[in-house]
């Protein structure tokens, strides 16, 4: 230990931090600055103590991206001011801790909507940008990073600089998607999407096979949003069947009552199911079904139900209800029990997707670890350094974690990695909790990794910004 340091950090700073799925529980010294200037002090403290810092927003990463075992975690949620809102041009400047929820509530009434949102409204913009999140419209709108006009960053050395697609372009394209390993976003300016209604026009229908789901998504590329639900528990040839939801924004003349649908209270998710059952009671009620047999039954009922009732029907649905499906049931992830869950998402080129995804579902079943939720999405490539996207499809699989299945789950993930990599697949750091250095360097390529590390050495020569994910994938 260095002789210069005289005092350790107070043990009162120690906190338990978890991933979104509650399957990882790690200790860290937690700091929650409420002014950007405080970042300097925390960096200085970390430097003096010989500890690294991980940046954390709302903690909605499925893996270990916002964990830093035994070291410092900087929770940026209190930096949550909306700084400038230009309702004419649809440009908003926010601090990194502003959440997607805060953002849409602030701009909706003026006829604007975040161009890209994840499946839940609770993440922070800083976190979303660090992961360069995508929505159900990725092939149309790209990742969130493509809607950033500019941002201001603080580098670990304390230097503050502005980055845009033209200014400091290299850092711009690396910090977005850089998982908080290069610097802190201190202010972010986004360009929003102009909308003429708070509703989307949604069409839903079932498809009997995974190949049909993939081609249905392909055929509906003129839609604004398309997402496929995949039944990963069905038996035999039915494995991989599912349901498509396609949606489009309404044009200026299509919603006569736009003023009302653009009100925040028209968007609020109901807090009761069927008008009676408080939704916070749902996770414990769902828990008995979150196992292989229960999920098989639930999925079967869902598939058959969707095929029978309202199949191919078109209806209008509020933007919030369509986009933030995960928030429909508060703390849904608790229904997975004490061991929590992980998600495994792989991105495959167009041609290979249907076959390889089906192969993956079979591998899961062979391992006795069927995914309880599969979500299929369409993607296109982007210009960000650590991008997960490609011209193709992604399948996100949720797995329940128990004490007994952890080792098998890791082995299964390695098997799925092989399938994905052989087909030219990619992965997504916001979701990942199983990749190793070898797989990461295979999908990103040695050159990209070198470029990232070179840039990191330049902006963070002391390697102050780290996370469990960093040490696992790049360390």
């Amino acid at each position: 230990m260095s002789k210069q340091v005289e005092r350790a950090l107070p043990p009162q700073r120690l906190a338990r931090l978890e991933n979104f799925g509650h399957s990882l529980k790690r200790s860290a010294y937690l700091f929650q600055p409420n002014r950007i200037e405080q970042l300097h002090d925390i960096f200085a403290l970390a430097r003096e103590q010989g500890l690294s810092i991980a940046l954390r927003g709302a903690g909605r990463s499925y893996g270990d991206a916002a964990l830093n075992s035994g070291q410092i975690v900087l929770d940026l949620r209190l930096l949550n001011r909306i700084q400038i809102w230009d309702a004419q041009r649809g440009r908003i400047t926010v601090e990194p801790g502003v959440t997607i929820e805060q953002l849409w509530k602030h701009v909706l009434a003026d006829g604007w909507w975040p161009p890209v949102v994840p499946g839940t409204m609770f993440p922070t913009i800083g976190g979303c940008l660090a992961a360069n999140i995508h929505g159900k419209n990725n092939w149309q709108a790209g990742p969130l990073g493509e809607h950033v006009v500019e941002f201001e960053a603080m580098l670990p050395g304390g230097k503050r600089l502005r980055c845009s697609p033209r200014k400091n372009a290299e850092l711009f394209h690396a910090m977005i998607g850089g998982m908080g390993l290069l610097g802190v976003f201190t202010s972010i300016t986004l360009e929003l999407k102009h909308i003429y209604s708070g509703n989307l026009e949604v069409t839903a229908w079932t498809e009997p096979t995974l190949a049909r789901l993939v081609s249905a998504i392909h055929e509906h590329e003129e839609s604004d949003y398309v997402v496929g639900w995949v039944d990963c528990t069905a038996m035999g040839r039915r494995l991989g069947r599912g349901q498509i939801h396609a949606a489009r924004y309404l044009r200026s003349d299509e919603d006569p009552d736009a003023e009302r649908s653009l009100r925040v209270d028209a968007q609020v998710l109901p807090d009761r199911m069927f008008g009676v059952l408080p939704k916070r009671l749902l996770p414990p009620l769902m828990a008995p079904f979150v196992n292989n047999l229960g999920t098989w039954g639930v999925n079967l009922a869902k598939y058959l139900g969707s095929r029978t009732i309202g199949n191919h029907k078109t209806y209008r649905q509020a933007l919030v209800a369509f986009n933030f499906l995960l928030d429909y049931i508060p703390d849904w992830e608790r229904s997975y029990g004490r061991g929590g869950l992980i998600q495994y998402q792989s991105f495959l080129p167009k041609a290979a997707a249907a076959d390889v995804f089906l192969e993956m579902l079979r591998a899961c079943k062979r391992a006795g670890l069927p995914s309880y939720l599969g979500v299929l999405k369409r993607h296109r490539p982007d210009k960000f350094l650590l991008s997960h996207a490609l011209d193709g499809y992604s399948l996100a699989l949720d797995f329940r974690v128990t004490r007994a299945n952890r080792a098998r789950l890791v082995a299964l993930a390695a098997e799925l990695d092989k399938l994905a990599l052989a087909a030219g697949g990619r992965f997504y750091f916001a979701k990942d909790s199983t990749l190793r250095r070898e797989e990461v360097s295979r999908y990103l390529g040695a050159k990209t990794i070198q470029q990232f590390k070179k840039l990191k050495r330049k902006v963070d020569p002391e390697n102050l910004l780290q996370s469990d994910l960093y040490r696992r994938c790049f360390g």
Partner: protein, 266 residues
Amino acid sequence: MAKKRKSAPILPPESPLTRRRRALVVGASSGIGAAIAQRLAAEGHVVAALARSKGELDKLCREVNAQLGDTRALAYEHDVTDVESIPLTFQRLLKELGGMDVLVYCAGVMPAVASDEFNLEKDELMIDTNLRGGLAWLGLGAALFQRMGAGHLVGISSVAGDRGRVLNPGYNASKAGLDAYLEALRNRLTRHGVHVLTVKPGFVDTEMLKASRGPKFGVISPEQVAAGVWKAMRARKQLVYIPWIWRWIMLAVRNVPSFIFRRLSI
């Protein structure tokens, strides 16, 4: 001067989902501590072994790692009587291990004391090593585990803590203090999901016993103590006498009335 941030120690890469549990054993160079470190490593933990004598620690860790074919034990030189250094050492270990799930305090000394000797220096050494160091380490462990809502705190006390006896008053006092502290931690932390275990070994075949003047019977090996501790940890016992017979012996000893006890020479 800014330091270069060293990455974590050379532990084999692990998947986050199957990460080994982390254990810290204070006083691990010989006797019971060494056996517990060895046992925890064999049971799948990554163990940080702390003691004054780096040479013996290194030897222990080399043996453990060679035997298990894996980097499972790490040696750290540390003197528990240097209480001021404990918070920083704790912080450094938390970083290098990447967390902590088990903390075992077994540092203990028992210098020979003549029956007519009252030696503050020796008494202070026992209080500092057996009790004060324990307060510092276990207190930090308690702060961490309370927040984590999990963890095992293990204190190696002694049957000597059950009653003040003629042989070594300072030793009795240090172990009785440790007992009370562990009990208090247990009462504070059980509600937070933390397991606090007090271990009271009888006669164990260690250097300490060889130096002791008292009676010796039913001597067991340090490995037997380690096995008993592991079993008690798994069963989340509060207090364990090893071997079990000492529970009954000490029940009797505790209940000998003072007017008799003070005439005995045990």
